[in-house]
Point group: D3
Chain length 321, copies 6
């Protein structure tokens, strides 16, 4: 009902409820602490600085709480910014909860679960099917809660599951249009390829890398999970299907310099790599264009070589719920 | 009815009709001329040397003619090779024509025409629609006759059209699954992206680069075609749709070092690049795996960084008509 | 008569007339607007910040107006900077016009026109001669008004023409010293190689990239111009001279990663690339050294891999007018 | 007693016993089969072709058998080559066994075992010690039998163990000279870093890559072994020492483009990488120089960027037993 | 006796004597001068800003003087920082001299001299021995006083000598463990490899590059020194040992892009390169880890590709005298 | 008078006198020796094989002798080749000397000497003038006899001097057209930049690299020469002109990866680099095009990234003497 942050024009006054996604306490030149906030509602995220923060304010305005913000939507050095003139916690009778402000995957978790489950029936290769089910069960909750990345693409709760679903849809087109693809290996690989992120990252709020994430990385972490699944399920690790499944996970970054320890040497590995790039690219550009005026170029997109993208005139803004 | 060349085992005697696709006359160490043949039938291509070639044989056995070859299918330094023991032209009553041996796109030209025509109705942007129709008309015949490349991928007659159709099918999945894509720009860009190859290359037999192909290249040649189409159709070249259409063609190689003079700065340009890579990769791997024994690695694929691809055991060979 | 900005020592008080070349209104930490100025006179450009700017000052002090500046020449983080203590518009009786402060090509437009015209007589190849004349006529005014780049080299009004003239002079030495060069192709290519910049850029003040500049680029834009010239002049585009002329323009950046869609495959293309590099490098170094004290290193030059250049002791500053 | 192959001068007649290390049957231009032999004795390996091979000769002269070769040591295109004039199997009473001709690690397996065992006492970190012992036990035999690489460095039986021992000796110098190094992590990492090669490669004769070697690679294979060891030994995989041990193995190739999925972010990982490079480089150069005349340059060394190495004059050839 | 700067906790008040290593006068936004200090004591270096500096303070607090600092140890954007609340010069009766605060090589100069001298006896090659002694004599004082680099590694007085000694110790292990190494060339090369830094850099305080350092570089400068030594000592420059000695110095950076004009083509050159990398890497990581809390990652290390390094938990801080 | 080799058509019989430039004895598959000849006359060089060479023929037909060759001009795998049917030495009364067949610089040595000498008068900087004269005197003979490279560009006797002269001519245009260039430094640098090749290479016949060439390289060798010249001439090596002169020599390859130990940081160094590239490129292309038919592409040019160059139609072959 209330207007969301990105439904305000640039330089329009703002007086809305938002969720604090990040709250970094720093020191200003004058040595007084200030809070560098990241606010969000369903229209996106925006940064804003809160100067001369007092002890109790620092205490009160932490990540995960909902606040009422008064100020102005501005642009600073090409990035959106919120000038804060007033900030207060929600009060009794203001019926807002954090999840009302969270940008989320366009699909609900249950829908994603259903779509994954349907796909499992198309994985007819027994060892692959058993391994995928085992790992899905083990990481079930996180799989539909985690973002697909710390930033870059699908960086919202549920992003990991949603990115996987999107790739699966493309994968099904591939299986339909090209003979000779092994659906078990392709779908199994797509489902597993990024689940290691649930070990690599800390979660969906204030997302950071874990020690394992930094020192081992999600690609090898998933290889370890397949290894352990074989031990538990008594599947022979020399089974060719197991080797192929590990391979498509290990090779999905496409190049050694992007962190894959092996290059793709199996057709399905090559396909998964391209589908990953395609889906991630569309998501990154789409996210950037949502904050871009028609007829202008977006901010630079780090994950796409710092390119900017042009938003053509006369293309209407995608609706939000 | 007759067994095709790749339906013979390695070291099995061969006694079949084939089409001469290439016939290069060279000189042996002993100074006598020999012919380096490339034969083909619908199961693929194979090289073979014909020693001590006489003048009349050189005359007779030229590219484009059908011959009866007796010999043995062999493997030389990891590549298939045909040892020729006898070679003769077809004789009266042997009812073979060259096109009976030509590997072709899995779709007939008419089917491709239909599929393209249907797509044209979905290009609702007027200038893009008019430009695409104009260029399709101009290069209609070649578009469905040319290969998509001299070698590498879809290097068979009709390959250019078939590669385009395959990308269009993927593109339609993208439009269905992702909001915010402009179908006119995406489909128009896919259709035009490689038509410049009809100017860059000499044709589907003994394919070489033309002077324009070498000195200008198919990417800029297509940009020129759009420029000329605008002149002819009286479309203002400052129209944003025209600029975007040129851009998606110019940017489709994805990187400057692959010959695109600009990087993709429009969502549809980025998508076309990925679809191109995806379809070309699948075709290259598929072609290589068709000549590979199960449980072994293929020959090196030049267009994929010289990687070899593994053909899993128990995966049955794709049928050929 | 007055001392110019770079004729002041570092830390010397300044009280002179200058032209405002750029005036960017930004917001300070304290939320008050300030103006980030770029001033210039014939000795060069210098930045300076004007704090706590009021509405009428922002209105009054825009790019293109002449002002009287009081302050001090300083150095901030190795870059020259002007500390502003007072700023006022010119008053009645102060006879200054913007062009009196503009750094310009060392040649007047008429001189450049003459030198180009003389060269046209040495382009004896008919199609090249006609195409070059046609395009020169079409872009005549801009050709002698535009800078050769947004920044980097020859970034002053008339820079495009002057850069072209400088290359032509070197080209004539080449023709004299090396047999086997085609003067028509070499001179024609030099004249056309950068004219696309008149479409790529917006002009000589507050220079920015146009949409065509960003999405097509000056290299392909010039190829389009040659294509259109052929249509207009009824020159067959398959004429080898036309193909060669397009090629030398397309290849002049020397490497694919610098935006040329083809590598040089013609002698004259290779030469034009080297002459371009040579003239641009000298101009960039020369510009940087003019602001450098003897016996010290210049600021970093972005267009030369961020290298700094040493200004030897005892080398006297080049005179200005 | 007999003179070894590399104790013959170039162009000196040869009449000695050697081991056939490789025997590749190929077809000559004239379609007759020949055998491309690799012979070896303790002075090194040498190639030689055996023309017009008959069926029984192909049968008889296989890899792993000892033969008497008569011929001449030659040089062909800068590489050593053996011209074969006569070849026969050993006869009754000729007391030669294959291992008498095999180039081997300069240390006997027992010596290597002892040196490793001593080092285990210096690994005082309990989880690391247990994991290392477990894996050493599991791969004990292969560890002292395998080469360290298919070709490149330490490509002889026992090379893997010997390369490891050499690195351990350097590692001990490091621990002695630099405070702050963790000996458990450093020694444990050195011992495990290449054991994955026993899974990656097929063995010490006619060494090839296994499917796991090609599709997973020895780096990740070793990470899997640590994972499984933890399962078996009930060591918590979240134990920091376990994570660090995995990390130093994963990072030891030093760069992503060399196949490490993570860069070194732990001091001991960085050290192991440098020791690996140092020991491998010395071994490669040493091997090449043993076949190089003083005052000349060696053959190109593939593993060192195809560089050649100069053998100074007056440096005496290293003795061989 | 007093607690050193890095023996204070973060946010602990500080009231200690320190040496001013650098004192850069800059201008604040409000146009008042401030001093950007680098302080140091034996526990390391720390930056701190001194606002509103008066003329006499600028005069008094220069690099090389000892001061009493009152303030707080803080962390600013991941880097250690000292907040200064009070600053005064030492007073009569405060017995502090600059060298009491200088981080130094862990070895005294005399120890280093002894260790170098011992090594000279192992350089038995006459020309190498004479050249090394000659150059050591010429640069004796600077060799034990200079840092090994302006920043990056061993950037403290005596660092050059200490880095050389550390490499020599590793070199002796190499000579012991690997046959076929020439100790004269290896030790001579190690000793000379970086002495050119005494010409390239200005000294150990406020270290900068000299003009020769910038325009010739320490690698070629050392080659010149060997050239001049030969002239003086009447050693024939065509002597192979001289050429080899020059080569190992010229090649020690290992790659052309790191400034070596030739790649290593001699075994000892390759070894020196690796020892240099190994010793420098350990020093850089060690320095960074000394300021890092256990269980966290260090600051980024520029000389190691901007990597951060993890300091494992439970590893005790290395003692300082 | 006689027709030269490249004045024959392809496949035209040949019966002319030529000089043997190279004569490599190799062994054929049948184990009989053959001679791989490189012949030359003033129209260029051509390879040809002489089968079944007898001992006395190997003795007689060595590099540097003139012979009468009967055979045919052919093309083998895109390279020109001479089929030899008869070969005999010159006989009494046949008045041919080797230098009558040698491709030479288009200028006689005396002309080059004159042109260099004139330039010396324009080097008014005393230290530079003295150093350049000293080094020119020392290497006078070789400077006008050596090629500029082993292969690649100006690979003929006198090529070094001629390449230098060509660059000097361009350099004079630069001095004329651009103010602010130091002629002494520019001309001095041009003259010295490649003289190190007289030490790096063995001479103009059967050119190879010397040990110094391989291990030090011509760039550093020239720096050593300047160092020694200063010692001899008692010029202070700290003189800025000396440092600059060394710098322009050291930096002339333009990039570290091309073997310059420093990047250009002085205007004249940057110019010399570009002139070197320009002159070398023209020479390489020109040489290749002389053997190329009009309307076709040349062989690949190694020194220009393996590019082929197109020879336009209707461009007449450059005349020779």
């Amino acid at each position: 009902m209330t207007k969301k942050i990105y439904e305000h024009e640039v330089d329009e006054p703002v007086d809305i409820f938002m969720l604090i996604k990040g709250a970094d306490v720093r020191k200003a030149k004058n040595n007084k602490p200030y809070i560098a906030f990241t606010f969000q509602d369903k229209s996106g995220q925006i940064d804003g600085k809160f100067w001369d923060a007092k002890e109790d304010e620092i205490e009160r305005f932490q990540a995960g709480t909902v606040v009422k913000v008064t100020g102005k939507r501005e642009v600073y050095q090409n990035n959106p910014q919120l000038r804060i003139t007033k900030l207060r916690p929600i009060q009794a009778g203001e019926p807002y909860t954090p999840d009302m402000f969270m940008e989320r995957a366009p699909l609900r978790a249950e829908e994603m679960v259903d779509e994954i489950n349907e796909t499992l029936f198309e994985i007819t290769n027994a060892p692959i099917n058993r391994i995928v089910r085992h790992i899905l069960n083990k990481y079930h909750k996180d799989f539909f809660e985690f973002p697909a990345a710390k930033r870059h693409h699908h960086a919202f709760p549920g992003g990991l599951g949603f990115h996987t679903i999107s790739m699966l849809r493309l994968a099904k087109t591939i299986v339909r249009d090209y003979p000779g693809i092994d659906p078990s290996l392709l779908y199994g690989g797509v489902i597993l390829h990024d689940i290691g992120k649930t070990i690599e990252l800390t979660g969906s709020m204030a997302t950071e890398y874990t020690l394992k994430g930094n020192l081992i990385g999600h690609i090898v972490l998933m290889d370890e999970e397949i290894t352990k699944a074989c031990e538990t399920l008594k599947i022979n690790e020399d089974n060719e299907s197991v080797i192929l499944l590990k391979h498509v996970v290990l090779a999905h970054h496409g190049k050694l310099e992007f962190g894959s320890p092996v290059l793709a040497h199996v057709m399905e590995a090559e396909i998964i790599h391209h589908l990953d790039m395609l889906d991630a690219s569309i998501n990154m550009i789409d996210t950037a264009l949502q904050r871009t005026e028609e007829g202008t170029f977006s901010e630079r997109i780090f994950g796409l070589g710092n390119r900017t993208f042009y938003k053509p005139k006369g293309q209407t803004k995608p609706q939000e719920d």
